[in-house]
Amino acid sequence: MAQTPSVAFTVTVANFPPTWQTVPTIAFAQGVASSVSVAAYATDTNGDPLAITKNAAALPPGVTYDAANKRFVYDGVGAVGGTSGHVLTADDGRP
């Protein structure tokens, strides 16, 4: 029989880190209480549930980041304002 072996290779089951799409500017209408979710901007190939935390950059008055629900919330009262330098970090809970 004509038999040919392949070169040895590796088979692996692996964890993939979360990946981000670009998060656009999060804009609220001054005077209108509302929230904007950021959950959809981070995905995980393994389907792991992700925790999303925010850095310490100060938000405009009346805006908070709600980590439990992965969203920014505006109270409808805060004045017009804008801040930059916000960074979200997604964690899949795996090493």
Binding site: M1, A2, Q3, V11, T12, V13, N15, N46, G47
Partner: protein, 141 residues
């Protein structure tokens, strides 16, 4: 009738001489106008050699040939399969069976020989196995 014949012959000979002279002049002119002289090396033609095509020799079996198989990676938690049939070919067009060596695959991963693919159940934990070798057999001696 007869007295006119020498005159026509003379005319014919004169015409032929004129024609020969004209032809020679044109030939010389053609030669002197050629730009390539003895002191100019002619440009050798560019010869491109096509890659050799080695057809299977009639009556002789060619064994299966493997490409390098890359690392086969499954995402933990996601059931899926990865075919490996495309990494091996046979010049004779023989149908191939592909067996795997005795390497122990990560939990939840199996080799599905009939379908020439690795299958992951989506449950097995993160793990890695090296030294996996597939053996292609064309069924011919």
């Amino acid at each position: 009738m007869t007295h006119t014949a020498p005159a026509r012959d003379a005319e014919r000979r004169a015409f032929l001489r004129l024609l020969a002279a004209t032809t020679a002049a044109l030939a010389m002119g053609g030669c002197t106008k050629q730009p390539v002289g003895l002191d100019q090396a002619p440009t050798p033609p560019v010869v491109t050699t096509p890659p050799p095509i080695i057809p299977p020799t009639p009556g002789v079996n060619a064994p299966p040939v493997w490409q390098v198989v890359p690392t086969i990676t499954f995402a933990q938690g996601v059931a899926s399969s990865i075919g490996i049939g495309g990494y091996v070919s046979d010049a004779n067009g023989d149908s191939l069976t592909i067996a795997m060596n005795a390497a122990v695959l990560p939990a939840g991963v199996t080799y599905d020989a009939p379908n020439k693919r690795f299958v992951y159940d989506g449950v097995g934990a993160i793990a890695s196995t090296s030294g996996v070798v597939l053996i292609a057999n064309d069924g011919k001696g």
